[in-house]
């Protein structure tokens, strides 16, 4: 029996991805706590080096709090374009090993290497090879979980972090899984965890040893049986290559709550333009536009509308987003955050396009494509709607 017998699924996860990319760019920061995240009084941490994590800093924590925990940390605003580029290179590397690559986000992916052949060795050897290549080519580290299922592979990579590899062979699965806390299981969020803890179920082993029907009574038929299966390491989900991006969007938390509809409209325009730019850069059109509004009391609502024809034009996203917002009929409600999402994406080249009678050959879309080209040459925001001219870069630039 080889060291990776029965293991064909890899979960590869970059270690402290955004922060690592920043450290690579500024080597003098190596070995120091670095936080990537918003700096304003409402900024949150999106990534932190392990040096910062040692102080208790973690993602999604308010930056202000992180700085209280770790005052020496360097806070950087983040450079999504750069992370996207690194991510694309890494994913391309994965795809050179196997076509069965399922990216979960910029910095993690499942790989099915069952068909990768003997050329590179077994799954463990492939995992080590990938770790070495990523480090050589990108100067960042990653961790790899190797197992027979996606569920176990992902848990294994989490356990292997940072800069490690863990293989969990089928006979070892129970020994690996059962001591884990229930919260580690895929699909168990804080609510479910609370329910399970109330039933006295603390570990995955506990879950495995109650009858499936008990779990189903507590959590509902589908969730209960899926949890029972997972607790026994059974996960039928396959690695689905290149799951197309389902949505893209942007949101903005205001530095202080806003009740001026004109400001909200302007922000929606900015977010719509940014979302449209992202759509064009990934070559997709959106069929549905969703807005998100978070009020001062954190109550959050979303509203969606499906467009007559899919689009990647900022003006069309904005028109819809604004109509959705206006339809809320808010009377100077205090708003903390607004977001615009483009959903139900279809590839632009495969999408039929309803033509307009007597449309100008160079319409709004062509103008926005030209703005994209200008942005590539002169930087983001080189060309933007006049309504947005009087704004500095937005509240995210607010000094700390």
């Amino acid at each position: 029996m080889g060291p990776a017998e029965g293991c064909t699924v890899l979960h590869v996860d970059m270690d402290a991805f955004f922060a690592s990319v920043e450290v690579r760019r500024r080597p003098e920061l190596a070995g120091t706590p670095v936080i990537v995240g918003g700096a304003g009084n409402r900024g949150v941490v999106t990534s932190a080096t392990y040096e910062a994590r040692r102080y208790g800093v973690h993602a999604a924590m308010p930056t202000a709090r992180a700085l209280r925990l770790c005052p020496t940390a360097t806070v950087l605003p983040g450079d999504m374009a750069l992370y996207g580029e690194v991510s694309r290179s890494v994913m391309a590397l994965f795809r050179s090993i196997t076509p069965l690559v399922e990216p979960l986000s910029l910095d993690e992916a499942f790989l099915d290497v069952a068909g990768a052949g003997r050329r590179l060795g077994d799954a463990v050897e492939i995992g080590e090879y990938l770790r070495a290549r990523v480090f050589d080519e990108q100067g960042i580290t990653c961790s790899v979980g190797v197992a027979g299922t996606k569920f176990v592979a992902k848990l294994a990579s989490t356990r292997a972090k940072p800069d490690g590899l863990l293989v969990v062979r089928p006979p070892e699965v129970m020994g690996f899984l059962h001591p884990l806390p229930v919260g580690a299981v895929w699909g168990v969020g804080p609510k479910t965890e609370e329910t399970l803890l109330r039933l006295g179920l603390r570990t995955v082993g506990d879950l495995a040893h109650v009858p499936a029907r008990t779990l189903q009574r507590a959590l509902g038929a589908a969730a209960g049986s899926s949890l029972h299966e997972l607790a026994w390491g059974r996960d039928p989900r396959r690695v689905v290559p290149d799951e197309p991006e389902r949505s893209t969007g942007a949101e903005e938390t205001f530095a202080s709550d806003v009740d001026d509809p004109a400001v909200i409209h302007r922000e929606l325009l900015r977010l719509a333009e940014r979302t449209a730019g992202r759509l064009r850069s990934i070559g997709c059109l959106a069929r549905t536009v969703t807005i998100k509004v978070r009020f001062a009391d954190f109550a959050t609502i979303t509203r969606s509308r499906t467009l007559g024809a899919p689009t990647d034009v900022g003006q069309e996203l904005y028109d819809t987003a604004r109509a959705l917002y206006d339809a809320l009929g808010l009377q100077r409600a205090r708003i903390r955050l607004v977001g615009v999402r483009a959903e139900r994406l279809v590839p632009a080249d495969a999408a039929p396009r309803q033509l307009e009678l007597g449309a100008r050959e160079h319409g709004r879309r062509e103008a926005e494509l030209a703005a994209d080209r200008a942005a590539r040459r002169f930087g983001a925001g080189a060309v933007r709607p006049a309504t947005l001219l009087h704004r500095s870069g937005g509240s995210r630039q607010a000094g700390r």
């Binding site: 069929r287 499906t306 467009l307 007559g308 024809a309 899919p310 028109d319 109509a323 080249d349 495969a350 999408a351 039929p352 396009r353 309803q354 033509l355 307009e356 009678l357 007597g358 449309a359």
Partner: protein, 385 residues
Amino acid sequence: MKFRVAREVLADAVAWTARSLPPRPSVPVLAGILLEADGSQLSVSGFDYEVSARAEVDVQTTENGRVLVPGRLLAEITRALPPHPVELIAEGPRLAIACGNARFSLPTLPVEDYPSLPSMPSAAGIVDSDVFAEAVAQVAVAAGRDDTLPMLTGVRLEIEDDQITLAATDRYRLAVREFSWRPETSGLSAAVLVPARTLAEAAKTLTSGPEITLSLSSGSSGEGILGLSGKDRQTTTRLLDAEFVKYRAIMPNESLANATLPVGLFTDAAKRVALVAERGTPLRCEFTPGQVTLRAGGSDDEGQAEERCDVDFDGDPLTIGFNPTFLLDGLAAVHTDRARMDFTSPLKPAVLSGVDEPSTDDEKPAPATRPGSYRYLIMPVRLPG
């Protein structure tokens, strides 16, 4: 006020007037229907500053007077009354309705607060009511429904002597219909934009008499209105103050290929195939000599459908995509057994028109677009690949 009236007559007049009441009136009195009894005449009116409607009914009046009553409630009551003569009596601030054994007492609204209806502008001419209803329906189908683009929610009405042209477009299709009428004065020339929904509703419901009188005030005061008067009923609507597209420039002036379609069979086939076309996906029409193949759907996670239909096709084979709704709207509006479609390219508008049936001799004369009749342009969907 006190009068007697036939239940059916009252119910019809009230229902017709109630149609134009605003669903969310800006002031409460606008939710009312004004009843004015004067001798043997009862007039039933509604108004929301945009649209006014006034129906006249024969009644036996014992006492003249006027009351304003909640319109929708009155419409529901009159519709539900038993088949007996109805008696309406104003009693102080209430209106009593008696019919058979049924008795109602309704609160009235302050009639003195009710705005006066716009006076009917001077008559411009007369149209055949059926022709007008058909023409308006054929054109209004192409009007836009998005109120943020007022220009597209209107029907353009152009008068050029004894010809009227109606046109509407929502940017994706354009419908144009011409017909003749009898203007009051010769040489009349005018062009106005009428809210499509209101016009369609009015034209459809003014067919009880053979003729409709059109009245126009282009409004030196800027408040243009169009009046339509049929038998016992008249309505006015405020005109839209917007430019209309230069639609004549959009009409293709050449045809490189054309198909003659059996409207019923082709419509049925298109409806079946369109069942699998998700919103925003086109119906693909592949025209070859003698037939058209319709396809929809196609990607792995969608259904697929295909159907062939025999058509006469003249020209190089052509594959063109349409939004199924736009195509079906047009087919439903031509009102002929066969329709002709003219094409220039898969990316240029196709023109649908009715085909006048030739006398039943066997040799087939080249079907031609009827001059001065109906044309429905559809902008295609650019197919992927």
